[in-house]
Symmetry: D2
Subunit: 470 residues, 4 copies
């Protein structure tokens, strides 16, 4: 069984506590690593502070070259990374490979942004007091960053914290999800070879009680968390003087207008609804289709859903596989059953086998059902017809979440109305809400979070402006 | 008869050459001013250089307050300005008043932009040679500016040169159209009261031979000309080392798609086609209507054109009046007659009476007719049906000009296609090409000019970057 | 006695709880207003939500004109505002008048920024997934804002919350300091006359228990607080899902290098040290002078401090007057006495009379004395000689605070070193730390706060980006 | 003898006219290529237009990857490029290698800028007419570009035209200097392998009469020329409707203040004065040293100049070698002799041997001598003492040129004064005027040119804004 030492303040180490990593598809352990305790966290924090003093002095091209090296090494080893991701997260191969490639892009973008850290130069002579005065506003890195990343994108959602931190000049201590620590540990081997000083990056799998210390510690100037809403908002209250960025959950809505290309909408909704078993924050959970095309939509959609190919995550033609664990699959099963008991109609799927839950489509759902108002984080999609466009927008908004939404339309007024009125961080035209490029601003409103990722935007939160009045 | 002294290097003066200003509607002289000769031009240029040394040192708030004062005084005297414009240019009162109000806005925007002159601060450490280096890029005013403005917007098209020059810190010597010098001379009385140093603004009516000296003189660092294409491009070749900005003619196209609101399109096209007798560079000269709605469009459009109210420019309900002079009216008459001889069909209008030419609509025109390929600069509109949207776009592009265009559609694909493919400086959605706000970038491509106005954009051409490598 | 009704959800009202406002100089009540309770807060919050729906739809020019109207009305009534400020805050007339004028500037800047709310348009085709895609990033107002403002700038520090909120399109409920509610209530009379909908602005004096409800309420999307560090950081933990901006205290350091113009440094330090009795967050509390010029500095400084003219705040030649209350004067007295007991040497001042504390200068202080490490918020300055520039910078940084600092030098290396190494939000070259213009980014790091004010920067926190992927 | 086919519209071809390329050091031909005539120019122009239609549709990442490939291939073959440059231009090896490396950087920067082409999104509702309106300002490539590049940086000054053109989406036809065509022909072999369509890049050595056709042709939308002032300004008048960017000559001034580090200044001035035999537009031709340190400066400077190592350009320790041709060496000889006749004093150098002219230092020069007021473009430096800093600035400005200047000082007031008053495009602090990084804005004022290079800035001139009013 392959062993991955944890990466702590620049050293690859073992600790007294072993952690086994299993493949959710078959439940078998396939790798081993270790859990950090308070001592390791302290060491990593101290080294981060030492690293910070050096990182502040790195030239743009030095950071940029190191980040490009990381991108290049991930690229060269994309199959290695995809294999780790596929196994630890039960992610079908093609999605795992796509994630590895996205991480390449994430580091490449960071390599460019490292040269373009924000700076302003402004006139101060807008009133007599400022006559003869100008202001240079430089942004300085804030200091060590604490990152907590989720299981569903073990590499790229961590990369969205690591890459901007390194670009900004901030060391980062990362707590990966305990179920999926391998991709970020593999990444450590690459970062260790760069010119970033020891301590710039630590990746420490840990139990929640140690994770709590990260949240409350004064050693970090920013806490950036991607995970569930429930956990995230509690952290905000306990974070002390730190800045906090939260990338939380969603139950994204998608509107399919009668003016759209229905076949295109259908094929994108299959991907948006069932990619990685729906375990994506911007999974197309709730689809609203204009009544005139609802039947057509269903007729095309259901057969495609039924055809999704179940298999081992490492198999190249697998389209759907097990969920992250059986307890989550059971939760999904319960919610679907509840919904059916309350009047929802099952169009396909609905059965569970261990950690596997069939791709499932429901209709006749009401906004208060868990399958609708909660983040399902599983392979379940609801389909509802709508009469007026305004009604569809209201339904999309009828939730506590507000991450992303999709809209299929060819009508200018509908698109404008949607953009002005849908309460989300991102609206995707003619595609499903899962669309994301790694340099765009990404994040939610309402219960879906606070702050934005996307390299430039993440960097902004990791820097502090200082004005020189000249 | 009211006399307007010319404003030369900070002095209101008379010269040996008088210039009478007449109302094109009745041909009667109603005011008198004077023509500058080489001596006055030299004096104004010298004073401009002196003023430049002082303007460079003005604080942002000082320029801003002076520009706000100008805006405020024009606003207080908007009827006075409208009256001068209406008479010297034969502009119907409501359009003359609108122009005065736009000039207020032009100076207000400049008052803000004076505080926001461009500045950049950039990292230079993108490669090892730049390690430890940063760059401050400050934009400095280039020096005295020469402006030449046309008859059709005697105040606001001059304001689009004067306001950015003053905001940037550049003195300006303006040659107004000889037929319409009064609005800018009236403006001089206001500018004279501000803190801008004497010589910051001169307005010198002059004959073309003196105007030529402005074009070739080394005293100016920028020539900004609004007028005909024929004249403009010749100036470019003779301008020496100066920068040159040319705002020239057009024969703007408008597309009316079957997906649009036809009544709205019709009512806007009446304004776009006949406001100020079509003597506007972005006049809606060529209208292309989808064949399915062409008949409907014509049925609504022609009666409205016929109803346009002819009268004295000072009358508040006049909608159409005389052209700038009889020779232009004859030119328009000739072109319309030629077109009819070559197969065009007259839908209304077509008669001339002195300098007045009836609002005229033609169809069955071909792209090579003068009414189509030339800038008509008169109250004539051509209407053509189209079959495919691509064809309509090709027709809009089938000309040497490229200033603005309008498109009425509710179809996202049509709008995207139009924006990517129509060769113009500005495309107006759901309105006619005459739309312009005073802070937007405005100007043409192809034979329609080089450079952009719109305060911020005009200022940019009036400044020169200087980098301090620190 | 003049009565000021409180302004709640668009109505001027009285409540059962009266609040008397006294002049700290003589302790006499000179005005009366009322305290809001939970009911009024609820009403104001509800009206704010209603107003928000309307404010979102206001055009830029509508908000801009309304903000310019407010600026203009404050300007016309600057003596009225100065008189209220002088009395309620015991602020010498010239400083009170300056504050009124700064508030004019604050609203003027907001009037401009209302037209320039952030928007981005970005290419998304940086990787193959984004081919053909572009992103429009529009910033939308976040919703109702809760503001809490301090006693020391009753008008302008409130204006720094009100003006950006209105410009952004966010209604604001303001809790002024209970001791100084009048300036913001007077302001309400002006805002009430504008086109901003009822509920856009409420100003509610209230006891701390009601203020607590503002902090924890879900009705507000942002809490912006200016006040003490102790109170501020506690609020952050209790603010729920809200964004939080904290503008807290400081004990600003100033360095006087041997390369500087000493006379200039001295005269600015007198102002920076004793303006408004030192009750300013960026008061020049700690002055470090190079040892070669320390004696000269002291010889010039002390006589000027001694000459500061004590008197009634409304008297035009008063330079120093009573502190905000006797308890604060006693606190200052205690800290100075403690310092002397621990070895500090009194160069002048040191006596208290009721709420008045003499302008006081200490030397021989150590960093751990309260007069040095705490925010004194009173008329006390410490003077220390330094040997090396690095040492001076270390001393400036030797505190938990980090708001602003001043540096007098003519040496490029010293200035660069200082800017890169002094831990503050703003460094003022050749002036004292109290320098601030109303459009510059302003705020602290370390314990001095989180976030920045300065209209554009404050607006940024009041808006939420939404991307349209096209 | 190695043969280099010319690269015309995507094909490597020969023509009836051969061109031999010689090494100026020994006068021997070492390579052969061909001259294009009108026919080839026409073919290249036509292919450029075809390529343009395809380049407009390339995604950012496609252009970016192709540009990165170019950078990477130059880097892999840096010695090959250095060898060609060293021989065709008689450039000492270390400078030739540095140029190859700079070209790598130039293409890398372009690869990034290709993703960041300018776009703006602006509110138009600043006045009532714009209510509900917003504007998308997209910048589109203008079309085929004509580039003319000089002998002194055969690769990188061409790269500064090619790289931004390709990044912007504009095809480019380049006329290299006839003496130094090889580096750009070698580059063609790389560009030919990329995804840029055939016709995107042509490199055509040609006689001046064919070059003239490029200048006047309507096939190009921009002419970008780097070369002599005399030739450049004439082109501007004959360029028709094209935009024109001119990067012309200079006689850069450098100031050495008594507050500076003299040894540092001396060593940099040796490089700035004699690198590549002074054949650099920003060569440190005129050095002004404060009188108090003038003697010290001379004592350190002259010995270092005398020690410059003469040799073959391919030798790695050569510091100085032959000029580009004997006629230029004779011109330099004449000017130095003239200056001596008119009273200048020779501190070292002054002799010619064929195309080699010794590193020469003069003092006692007057501003009207050719060695001072003309661009010497040879290994000659003048040294003058100054009394006051203002006088030094005046002397730097006492010329028709205005490209870059250097200033060695540690005094803030001197630096500020210099930046505000020296009339140049770039001022380098604590270094010589030859400093340039490839992404900074670079270009001159006065007779030194119009427009700026530096990738982002060059791209800006190659694009045309189009606004969509929505």
């Amino acid at each position: 069984m392959e062993c991955f030492k944890i990466y702590c303040g620049g050293d690859f180490i073992e600790t007294p506590l072993t952690l086994f990593v299993s493949n959710p598809y078959d439940g078998k352990d396939f790798a081993q690593t270790w859990l950090a305790e308070e001592e390791e966290l302290k060491f990593a924090s101290d080294k981060a502070k030492e690293a910070f003093a050096k990182m502040k002095l790195m030239a743009a091209y030095e950071k940029s070259e190191a980040l490009n090296f990381i991108a290049s090494e991930i690229s060269k080893n994309e199959e290695r990374f995809a294999s780790l991701i596929a196994q630890e997260a039960a992610k079908p191969w093609k999605y795992a490979l796509a994630e590895a490639r996205r991480a390449v892009q994430t580091f490449k973008v960071a390599a460019e942004e490292a040269k373009r850290l924000p700076m302003e130069y402004i006139r101060l002579d807008w009133a007599v007091e400022g006559k003869g005065r100008e202001g240079l506003v430089k942004y300085f890195p804030i200091g060590p960053v604490a990152g907590i990343s989720p299981f569903n994108f073990p590499l790229n959602l961590a990369a969205h914290k690591i890459a901007p931190a390194l670009a900004a000049g901030c060391p980062i201590v990362l707590k990966p999800a305990s179920t999926t620590p391998l991709a970020t540990l593999e990444l450590a081997k690459i970062i260790d070879k760069t010119e970033f000083p020891k301590g710039s990056y630590s990746v420490l799998p840990m139990k929640r009680n140690i994770g709590d210390l990260i949240v409350t510690s004064d050693d970090f100037k920013l806490l950036t968390f991607t995970g569930s809403s429930e956990v995230g908002w509690k952290m905000k209250a306990r974070a002390g003087k730190k800045k906090v960025v939260l990338e939380l959950g969603g139950n994204a809505g998608t509107i399919v207008s009668q003016s759209s290309d229905i076949s295109h909408a259908v094929s994108r909704c299959v991907v948006g609804g069932f990619a990685y078993q729906g375990q994506i924050c911007i999974h197309a959970q709730r689809i609203f289709v204009h009544k005139d095309v609802f039947e057509t939509f269903c007729e095309q959609f259901i057969p495609l859903v039924k055809k999704l190919n179940y298999g081992h995550p490492l198999s190249h033609d697998t389209e759907i596989t097990a969920m992250i664990d059986e307890s989550n699959a059971k939760r999904v099963e319960d919610w679907v059953n509840e919904a059916q008991n309350d009047g929802a109609k099952l169009l396909c799927g609905g059965k569970r086998n261990g950690a596997y839950y069939e791709p499932t489509v429901l209709t006749n759902v009401t906004p208060d059902m868990n399958v609708s108002c909660q983040e399902i984080f599983g392979p379940v999609v609801t389909l509802q017809p709508y009469e007026s466009f305004e009604e569809a927008v209201n339904q999309v908004n009828n939730t506590n979440y507000g991450l992303q939404a999709g809209i299929f339309t060819n009508n200018i007024k509908e698109l404008d109305y949607a953009f002005n009125n849908i309460e989300v961080g991102g609206l995707i035209h003619n595609d499903v809400p899962v669309f994301r490029t790694d340099h765009m601003p990404y994040g939610g409103i309402k219960d879906s979070g606070i702050g934005r990722e996307g390299i430039k935007y993440a960097i902004h939160d990791m820097m502090e402006p200082k004005i020189l009045v000249k």
